[in-house]
Every structure is written in structure tokens, then in C-alpha cells.
Symmetry: C2
Subunit: 316 residues, 2 copies
């Protein structure tokens, strides 16, 4: 057993969470509600970002932002509570592309962001302003200001933009490889936030398409080496809590989905891994912490964040 | 008295209406409901077109299209019936520009149009497809495919884009002059439709900012010279039925708003002018036809269109 590192009963004052969409956003919401204002920085994947209807859409950034603002739809897991889809219905009726669900209220975010990006403002600055307008007191940082488009390689040689594979084709074609079109530097503040963190938490997001893009930003792995990093397994009972991860573990790692597969993927980066009860991990230097890791409701997320921070505070 | 020209009891088979926004759209709706499918072509002002939230908006084209489709909001006069404004509220909450009212359903039109224009499709083709999707059997032609931006010159030397003057500043600064940034050719089909028309009707729209841009397209005045052209006065009781026209007549023509001012503005182009009772016009060569010209409800519009076509059919 290895101790979580903040140790000696001192609660972590600066926490960084790495996040993709729903899973990471749910954990980030718990941390946001438990930590004091300004203590949490969430660094968010932008590999899923894409242009649709001429709008610049950052699905993971928005999912995190909406969760921290407390306005997400907890039943669907994406988008906004009490959302309507009247514009989408109009676009469909006019013969426009309607395969991606954009809500009416959500559209406001994309319209404001797209205008500002076209004027030359960086995504990180626009995100900060959107968060301020929504009253979010934690910091939400896109991993990069430049594009970093995830491409999904499927059998037959096709290479699909992420959203076309994930939403347009329901994540059904088997993933043979994941690649990125660009390799942008980390957004301003990313390396600094990691360097100043008392604790880094990798959320229960998809390692291949949500967390790897963050880890691949130049300097991020090096900055993480000196920090206490823990992760929350996105696997429960051999299946992904949400999304197509189990099939990706099978096709990309050639094994069954389990906490062990997650532990091996992150390797020596991790000091501890929160796992579902019974999903044992035996790996030298890694502390596996079993317990309930499902985060369906805001109160589950708060309770889990308290437990996570308490484990980090305690001597191992 | 001059006869309306189709004469000899033959109803006009091909009718062209020139239209701006609400007034012209209401008349066009009446003509659309009375004439057989395909008989009506509405040529619409695009001088008010502008970009907002990154979207290409054609207010007059949409107002006509929505009226012909029978889905306009008859109380407001613009936009769609049973419309909601959730995206607008979201944009406002995020600090974005919210001075122009865009409804959620209406946004679908702008999103589909903007995407297609960005792909290089001309506005006339996009408009035809939008009309087809809405089941509009009359033809709606934007006056031009290229931009033709109306500029409003106000005291102090300022020159405002039309919508900034009209909506943003509530049409309050006095108009000293109207100009256009570009001089595009008429859209495909415009000159042909006028050339084939048994009757051309200038709708009760603002002559300066709604009809003049159409008349200024190269070849349009020449095509109209050989055709029977009638107009419907946009003035009732010395005031504009809708919008800032009365003030513009005062500042641009230096006289009170009346059917005579409208008749003089169009000059020898007109063979007849439908005027409000008591708003007499005495002008050689022009037949003034008094009667109710208010078109608040669809049944008023249908009744007026029948009267207008009957007058055209009758010997004068």
C-alpha cells in the first residue's frame, strides 16, 4: 500500500481534475461543491470539439461547465436541464442535418462562443467568461486553445471524426486506433495549475479519447510526474459506467474491461485508483481504493468527493 | 381614369409582387391564397439582410416565406407563430448581443441558410429549397444573390447599417439619405418573371428601403416599363400602416405622408394605386382606387387580393 501523498492530515488546497464529458464532469461537480471557491481547476478534453451548423461546439467543456453551474440534465447526462429542442426540430423540418442534438438554451453557448472565437479570442478566455456568466467559481480550462481533433480509425481503413463515430454512428464501428490531427500546446494555465496542485484527480472518463488527449499536451506528463495523481475507474462490473469504453479496451488493449486495464493504461502516473468493490487491482506502487464509484446524483458526487479528499488527506 | 391593363375580363395568370417585410408579405399572402399554385412570384428586398450571431439573416425573405407558409405570427407581424425565445434568453444571460429578436424555431431557418451559403449555394436556390420544405407553392425570389446592404445616413454624418438603425436604434434618428454598399445584378429569374407578368403589384411596403432596392437592380425598371404595374399605398390617414415610413417621407421628400407622396415617388411606373378612403390622389395617367387597404388578418388579405385581381380583370 502506498500512501496518498498530501498526507499528515492536511487537506489538499489546490486540486486539479482532468476530465472528459459526463463521468469526469460528475466527479468535478462533487469536488466543486466540496472545495472552497477557487480551489478546483478542471482541465478538459477538447478532442471531441467540432463544427456543426457553422457553430464551434466543445461538448466536454460545456458538460463540465454545466455540471459546475448546477444546470446540467442529470437524467440524460448531457445538455441542460429543462431543455427544449425547437430549433433542432425546425432544422430537421427544413431538411438540415439533425443527427446531433443541440438544445435551444445550449445553442446560446455555441453562438456566443463561435462569435468570440471568430473575433480571435482564445477558447480558454471565452470559457472563463462563459463560466463567470454562469456563476462558476471553480476554474474550467480547455486543455488547449488550438484544435486537436480526435480521429477514430475503424475496420476497412476509414478514419472518422470523433462525433461522427460517437454520435453519428453510435460508437458502433470497432476502434482500431485513435489519432489526432494536431498537437497544440497546452492552454495558458494548464501546466501552471498542475505544477501547483496538491492533488490531481483523473476523472472516470474514457482514457483513450477523453484523458489521453489531455496527457498528450506537451509538458503535461512531465508536470504530472512530480504531483500526487489519483484516478477514478470508469469501469464497474466489467462495463463502462457510460459510453463505449468497454469495447475500446477490448479492441485497443486486447483484454477485458476492468480497473486493472485502467491501472495499466495510466501506468506509473498513478499513486491510487478508486475502484468498484470487487474490481481488484494488484499493481506494485498503486493503492487500489474500493468503494462505491457510481455518481448518478449530485449528492452521490458530493459524498464521493468528500471520501476522495479524505483519503488524500489521510496517511495511507 | 386609366384602365388596369389585363383588361377585357381576363384574370391575370402570372402575377409578380414586389415586397419588403410585413406589409408586402401580408399582401403576398392574400395573392398566394387566391391565385392558383405557381401563378405568383414574390420578388423580395434583401437590403435589410445582415449577419448576426454569425448567421446570415434575410428578414424580408423570411417574413414573406413565413406568411406564404401560413406560419407567421399575425399579432407581432414578424417571426413565427407560437415562437419561443429560449436561445435568445441564453445568449443574453451569457452577455452576448441580444438586441435583435431571434426565435428558437426561426433560428433553424438561419442556421440552414447560413450553412448552405457558406458552401457556396446562392440565396435564391437556398430560398427555393426552404420554401419547398415549408410547402410554399408560390415562388419567392430574393431580389439579388449578392449583398446589397442598405445604409441609413442620419444627422451628424453617421451612416448606420439598416438593422442597427431600424431595430437597434428603434428607427429614431432622422433619415437624411439612403444608400447601398453594393449594386448586385437581379437574382436569376427576377427579370424573366417581371417580363412574363400579366400584372405586377408593388406591395404596401416602405418605398425608400424596401421597394427602391428592388427597383434599383439593373434591368428591373426597364422590365417594368412594359408591364401593368399597380401599387398598394402603405399610408393610411397620414401615417404608415407599420414602421417608420411617415417620418422618412417628411425628411426625404419634404412633405406629409400621403398616397400622393407614394404616387409621386413611383412616378410613371404606376398605372393604378390602391389608396385608403379619403386619401385622394390626382395625377395624370394614374388611377387611384380607394377602399380598405388594411390587411391585419388573413381573411382581410384574401378579400383585398380578390378585389385587387378583380380590378385588374375589369375594364377600367
Amino acid at each position: 500500500m502506498t500512501a496518498l501523498p498530501s498526507g499528515a492530515g492536511v487537506p489538499p488546497r489546490k486540486v486539479v481534475a482532468l476530465s472528459g464529458g459526463v463521468g469526469g464532469a460528475r466527479l468535478a461537480q462533487g469536488l466543486h461543491r466540496v472545495l472552497p471557491p477557487g480551489a478546483l481547476t478542471v482541465i478538459v478534453n477538447t478532442g471531441d470539439d467540432f463544427n456543426h451548423w457553422g457553430l464551434e461546439i466543445s461538448p466536454d467543456v460545456d458538460t463540465v461547465m454545466y455540471h459546475l453551474a448546477g444546470i446540467c440534465d442529470d437524467d440524460r447526462g448531457w445538455g441542460l436541464e429543462r431543455e427544449t429542442f425547437r430549433t433542432l426540430a425546425a432544422v430537421r423540418a427544413l431538411g438540415g442535418p439533425a443527427w446531433f442534438n443541440l438544445g435551444d438554451r445550449d445553442l446560446g453557448t455555441h453562438l456566443v462562443r463561435t462569435e468570440r472565437l471568430r473575433r480571435g479570442d482564445p477558447l480558454s478566455a471565452v470559457t472563463a467568461d462563459l463560466c463567470a456568466a454562469l456563476g462558476v467559481t471553480s476554474r474550467v480550462l480547455p486543455m488547449a486553445d488550438g484544435p486537436c481533433r480526435t480521429r477514430i480509425h475503424v475496420p476497412g481503413g476509414d478514419v472518422l471524426p470523433f462525433q461522427e463515430w460517437f454520435v453519428g454512428r453510435r460508437a458502433e464501428p470497432r476502434v482500431e486506433r485513435v489519432s489526432w490531427d494536431e498537437d497544440p500546446p497546452a492552454a495558458p494555465g494548464v501546466l501552471e495549475a498542475i505544477g501547483a496542485a496538491d492533488l490531481v484527480v483523473i476523472g472516470p472518463s474514457n482514457p483513450y479519447v477523453s484523458i489521453d488527449p489531455v496527457l498528450h499536451r506537451p509538458g503535461v506528463r512531465e508536470a504530472l510526474r512530480g504531483r500526487p495523481v489519483v484516478a477514478v475507474s470508469p469501469i464497474v462490473g466489467g462495463r463502462a459506467v457510460k459510453g463505449p469504453l468497454a469495447g475500446m479496451v477490448a479492441s485497443l488493449a486486447g483484454r477485458e474491461a476492468s480497473a486493472s486495464a485502467i491501472a495499466d493504461h495510466y501506468g506509473s502516473l498513478l499513486r491510487a485508483l478508486f475502484v468498484a468493490p470487487g474490481d481488484e487491482v494488484v499493481r506494485p506502487g498503486l493503492r487500489a481504493i474500493p468503494g462505491d464509484i457510481l455518481l448518478p446524483t449530485p449528492s452521490d458526487r458530493v459524498a464521493f468527493a468528500r471520501r476522495l479528499l479524505a483519503e488524500a488527506e489521510a496517511q495511507g
